[in-house]
């Protein structure tokens, strides 16, 4: 095979690859974070971090503005922060739930300990 033919094949493959990449649909990051926020509301994460949630919503507004102004750098920064904040909010909510669960078990144990002490006194 001649060198020219090889170059032609490689060129075809690269062209094909670039066309495939170009056809990849563009993700609407605003829509993504809004879905994440809705999910957070549905799951009750807001109860655990209302202030952080409010800050996240403000960041969404700022991101929208940045998008309008085509300030890509700010937009990307805000989107990353929103996602990070939501991750923290989710974790805090989980921790809070676990804390409630722990408190509940501890209270139950205290009650049981009291019951046990009373039973022992009866002996």
């Amino acid at each position: 095979m001649s060198k020219t033919a090889i170059n032609l094949i490689i060129g075809t493959i690269l062209l094909f690859a670039s066309s495939v990449q170009a056809k990849k649909p563009k993700v609407d990051e605003i829509l993504v974070v809004q879905k994440l926020i809705s999910h957070a509301y549905e799951q009750g994460y807001v109860d655990s971090a209302p202030i952080e949630m409010s800050a996240v919503e403000k960041k969404v507004i700022l991101a929208k503005e940045a998008k309008k102004k085509r300030n890509k750098k700010l937009f990307n920064k805000l989107i990353r922060e929103i996602k990070s904040d939501l991750k923290i909010i989710k974790k805090r909510s989980e921790v809070n739930k676990l804390n409630s669960q722990l408190s509940s078990i501890q209270n139950k144990n205290l009650e049981n300990q009291q019951i046990l002490d009373e039973l022992k006194e009866q002996l």
């Binding site: 921790v95 078990i105 002996l123």
Partner: protein, 321 residues
């Protein structure tokens, strides 16, 4: 003017550097607090490692100037997230411990309840035994009381019977005494009668000589034994014989016709001998006395009647001429 601008630039650069230093110092403090918190030791290792890398990258100036703000934010986020994950794992660990504790408590409660139930059951059993014992004691007391009552009744009955027996005995004794008295009176009467009969014995003169006849009343019925009363009152007979001291005395025994001849002969002989013995005992010389049994051969009356037979049963004492 140029100098002023240079100064402003210097001041702003200095203040920016100072702010950066403060941010980094705060970041480092947050990170150190997380790492050295004993509560979270051993938890969120991966997240802590991520946080460490992001903090170190900033402190060691490995982040490009334009990315520093974002890296600082990310580092703070990593520390906060690592803390939350550590907290989550610590809580999960605590929940596990508490659940184990809860399980142990439930086991202990169950055991204690079982022990308590056993204790209660034992107590109930002891009470039941005590009640049974009390019931047994009450039963025994009642039984004892019943026995005592019965004994009292028996004693009363016995006493009554004894009283009755004593009464009967006393009555029997009285009757016996009365009987004895009557017998004594009878005996006395008999003795009196015998004495009178003995005293009233008359002597008669016969061909053989002077004769005194003793009726069969002086002997026990059918025997040759002289009655004690007759022995005691034999003085008249002795006195009669002593009136004739040197005379021979013949004593003849006679019977009625009842029984065989042999027996009658024997009885008459024995009765004659008994009289002889009594006379000897009263001082009459034996050599002068001759006792003879005559049997039924010489009746003085008919043997067909009781009165005749009574007359025939006799002993004749004859002072021979």
């Amino acid at each position: 003017m140029r100098l002023v601008i240079i100064l402003i630039l210097l001041v702003s650069t200095h203040s920016f550097a100072k702010k950066k230093q403060l941010d980094y110092a705060g970041l480092e403090t947050d990170y150190n607090n997380l790492i050295h918190d004993k509560k979270y030791k051993g938890f969120a290792k991966t997240e802590k490692q991520i946080a460490k890398k992001s903090v170190e990258a900033l402190i060691n100036n490995k982040v490009k100037r334009k990315n520093r703000e974002q890296a600082l934010y990310q580092a703070k986020h990593n520390i906060a997230f690592a803390r939350l994950v550590a907290e989550e794992q610590w809580i999960k660990n605590e929940i596990k411990k508490e659940k184990e504790k809860a399980q142990q408590l439930e086991v202990n409660i169950s055991k204690t309840q079982a022990e308590l139930a056993r204790h209660d059951a034992e107590l109930a059993r002891m009470m039941l035994i005590a009640q049974q014992e009390e019931a047994q004691r009450a039963y025994e007391r009642a039984k004892q009381a019943e026995l005592l009552a019965k004994n009292s009744q028996n004693e009363a009955e016995l006493s009554k019977q004894e009283t009755q027996a004593a009464k009967a005995y006393a009555q029997a004794q009285a009757e016996q005494a009365e009987l004895a008295k009557q017998e004594a009176e009878l005996a006395n009467e008999e003795a009196q009668s015998l004495r009178r009969k003995l005293n009233s014995i008359a002597t008669e003169k016969t061909d053989k000589g002077l004769m005194m006849t003793l009726g069969d009343f002086v002997f026990d019925s059918g025997k040759s034994t002289i009655k004690q009363e007759a022995v005691d009152n034999f003085s008249k007979v002795v006195a009669f014989i002593n009136t004739y001291p040197n005379k021979k005395v013949r004593i003849e025994g006679h019977t009625d016709s009842s029984g065989s001849n042999e027996l009658n002969l024997q009885l008459s002989q024995e009765r004659a001998e008994a009289v002889k013995a009594l006379l000897i005992k009263n001082g009459i010389a034996a050599k002068n006395i001759n006792a003879v049994g005559m049997g039924e051969e010489f009746p003085v009356a008919e043997n067909t009647t009781k009165a005749g037979k009574a007359k025939n049963r006799r002993v004749e004492i004859i002072i021979l001429q």
